[in-house]
């Protein structure tokens, strides 16, 4: 469990990025952090593994105050995947990239290969195992970056913009994989602007604005109408607008928001007929 107790953070010579944020993140949930640029999302997730120590307040991760633990120590509990995969890739092969994280964690040499193979399979990267990460596409590099953190098997995994650069198929694969990770008891925190992805996947949505928590609730609470998204400074996708329109007509907005795209279009087709 993760707890934020009245957390505030001010960048040196910069703005107040977080102001009096309090929340509890339960084990095993998929939490989506949304909000416009500069809302404080990245600062908040950096507090989770101690990269940022709050100016005031406390962040408690599995009973441990992040002030009293090093980033290396916290990285065993919280895995943070950065938005730009190029910030972390440096090894000659994808396999070595994963091995680097595992060795940092202190994994024994004989346990490396099974863990690497298992993670590569999860992230649909088996065919790229011996390729150089620098020669992969943006979407593939992003998946390598995620895999290189996920292989460490931390109970909490934080992903900054995981769908960036992913095509439709890969987005669906990621969605399924994140669900599997959740089923295995891992907590997932996703920072994303992808409203559809968040709507389908998240158990809980936190909308941030100017360092504050603006909305904290279910997907249905956060994405229930255009007015809500306007207040949250989010842009609805055509799919979501269609769901609102269709739901209002038939009095079932709440039930449609999470519905997968294929299922939703199937229902529309049936109604049209």
């Amino acid at each position: 469990m993760i707890e934020f107790r009245s957390v505030s953070y001010k960048y040196p010579d910069g703005p107040l990025a977080l102001e009096n944020v309090s929340m509890i993140i339960e084990q095993g949930c998929i939490l989506a952090l949304v909000g416009k640029n500069g809302a404080g999302k990245t600062t908040l997730v950096k507090c989770l593994n101690g990269l940022i120590k709050p100016t005031s307040g406390q962040v408690i991760v599995n009973g441990k105050n992040t002030r009293d633990a090093s980033v290396a120590e916290l990285s065993k509990t919280v895995g943070l995947v950065f938005q730009n995969p190029d910030n972390q890739l440096f090894s000659p092969t994808v396999r070595d990239e994963l091995a680097f994280s595992l060795k940092n964690r202190g994994t024994r040499e004989e346990d490396l290969e099974p863990l690497i193979d298992e993670t590569l399979k999860e992230f649909n990267l088996v065919h790229l195992k011996n390729r150089s990460p620098f020669l992969l596409s943006g979407g593939e590099r992003k998946r390598v970056a995620m895999a290189s953190l996920a292989c460490m098997k931390q109970p909490v995994l934080v992903m900054d913009e995981p769908t960036q650069g992913q095509d439709g198929t890969q987005k669906r694969n990621l969605e399924n994989m994140f669900r599997r990770l959740q089923e295995n008891g891992r907590t997932l925190i996703i920072v994303s602007h992808d409203v559809d992805f968040v709507a389908r996947l998240a158990n809980r949505v936190i909308v941030m604005e100017k360092g504050h928590v603006l909305v904290d609730g279910s997907v249905e609470d956060a994405f229930q109408s255009r007015q809500h998204l306007d207040v949250e400074h989010l842009v609805p996708t055509q799919e979501l607008e269609l769901k609102w329109f269709h739901g209002m007509k038939h009095g079932n907005v709440q039930g449609l928001i999470r519905m997968p795209r294929t299922e939703f279009f199937k229902e529309i087709r049936q109604r049209i007929r």
Binding site: L51, G79, D86, S101, S148
Partner: protein, 254 residues
């Protein structure tokens, strides 16, 4: 550590008398400080010149940022101090450390108060070829970006359990590999992107460029320039005669 030092190249717009000086004046003052730091190898003149830089920083409202950027210099200064003390003398070691401190400070103050575009205008006014001017200003402009990027890479690798501050010197150097490789690769990628962007904006298509802004030397620029020049010349002359108080000739007896 060295990230802080790179931040010393970041210009921030401020309304101060130092910021409003002509870039050529500030460049000349910086060159004079460079000459002074190289001309003296005793600690006290270097301390004195370091102190004369302080009012300049206070008026320019950059003291705090200068102090922050100097934090990135402590490792280099410690290295110079220890190595020179072991090989020569404490007096020489302190002088060399002060020399580096003065040199870096003078250039930090310059880059903190001169906008890269103004630097380009100053160099063009001094008849420096545009391609050279542009390369220099572009390099200066990307220093803070490089610092930010290095910080992000360090954060990303620390999130993977990399401990940058632990172990002996060999382990620490080895730990820098996951930082340096992504930094080099991203810099090369950026260089290509910038080159493509420049070509798409017709860089080099015309030999005769025009500038939207123009710079001109005002009375206060000439005053600062002449005052600094007279001060430097009189100090050198008085020091070598020698007519300065004995404290300027003090040597550390080791």
């Amino acid at each position: 550590m060295s990230i802080n030092l790179l931040k010393g190249f970041e210009f921030r717009k401020k309304e101060t008398p130092v910021h409003s000086l002509d870039p050529r004046t500030k460049l000349a003052v910086t060159i004079m400080y460079t000459i002074m730091s190289l001309a003296f190898s005793r600690p006290m003149p270097l301390v004195f010149f370091m102190l004369t830089l302080l009012p300049y920083m206070i008026v320019g409202k950059i003291t705090r940022r200068w102090l922050a950027s100097m934090k990135g210099l402590w490792l280099i200064l410690s290295f110079i101090l220890v190595l020179n003390t072991l090989l020569t003398s404490l007096d020489f070691a302190i002088s060399m450390s002060l020399r580096v401190l003065l040199l870096v400070s003078a250039f930090t103050v310059f880059f903190m108060t001169v906008h890269p575009d103004d630097l380009a205008l100053a160099l063009l006014a001094m008849k420096v070829p545009f391609s050279f001017t542009f390369t220099l200003t572009l390099a200066t402009r990307f220093m803070p970006t490089l610092a930010r990027e290095a910080q992000s890479i360090m954060d990303a690798q620390r999130s993977r359990g990399l401990e940058l501050e632990s172990g002996g010197i060999i382990k620490r150097v080895k730990n820098m590999v996951p930082i340096i490789i992504p930094l080099i690769i991203q810099s090369i990628k950026r260089a290509f992107s910038v080159a493509e962007a420049l070509e798409s904006k017709a860089f080099g298509a015309s030999k005769h460029r025009t500038n939207y802004f123009e710079i001109s030397m005002r009375k206060r620029d000439w005053f600062v320039l002449l005052f600094t020049l007279l001060f430097v010349i009189s100090f050198i002359v008085l020091y070598h005669l020698p007519l300065l108080p004995p404290v300027f000739y003090f040597r550390i007896p080791y």
